[in-house]
Symmetry: C2
Subunit: 171 residues, 2 copies
Amino acid sequence: RAATDDPGDDELYPTENFNMITKGVYRSAFPKKKNFSFLKKLGLRSILTLILEDYPDQNQKFMEENSIQLFQFGVAGNKEPFVDIPEETICAALTVLLDRRNHPILIHCNKGKHRTGCLVGCLRKLQHWSHTSIFDEYRRFSHPKSRSMDQQFIELFDVSRVTFDEDWLPD
Amino acid sequence: RAATDDPGDDELYPTENFNMITKGVYRSAFPKKKNFSFLKKLGLRSILTLILEDYPDQNQKFMEENSIQLFQFGVAGNKEPFVDIPEETICAALTVLLDRRNHPILIHCNKGKHRTGCLVGCLRKLQHWSHTSIFDEYRRFSHPKSRSMDQQFIELFDVSRVTFDEDWLPD
């Protein structure tokens, strides 16, 4: 049912920096309790987190209650000049994103800016987006803290290293 | 088929300020010729334009070739302090957006910032988004030219005036 067809509904609080990337793939900042009713409406099958830390209890509980699977690909917050995004981790995360059995899926890190922005940028490369468009999108969500090292990471990322199962590719 | 499963594909040039709003609803700046191959991949059924001017020949041709229907709800570029967004036009545009027979649909104006931002903001109200999230999104796409009159229009917009056919509401 549409979110639009129930005027009695309470106000919804999307996660900060929320966005739909492509059908069945969302991005945002870290989900907090006040965002849960919004996230519930997305009917998520999985969450892909890029944080290193253990997932908080209330988030784990929310996921159990809604049968949401957690994929954790921990990446250290990439504060310049100590940027060191592990390419293998991004490859593994992309493999999860390219399997529609995991959709709808929400990607998040802490702010939904840098680590998430790098992963989304690499996904866009797989979709053959021009670098101009990829960087525009990266900056739109990392503003006002865009990092050129992140954009360089995206530019240098070798999409041919990403493995996926042809049978389960998203439409 | 997935945009990702054809590594031989040429680079794609999404329209400026392109974004997926919700399943089957996209937004962007005015589509130019170099964007056509990208737009083709979206499998659009319709385009909703908020510009007043006649649609250029090359765009009309692209639409004919791809059986895309045009909905034109002309609104004058809302430059402050002469903002006068006609509420009835926004209502009519929303009725089109709330009918999934028109999906996938692309909303655009000139820059995809102000007129498009107002329409998307009103759509978010129908989805019960909090004003914080609506304005965050509005500003993300209108940056660095956000207009407070646009945000006020969204805040004052009365969603109960929008009519739609229950049977064709999007999921």
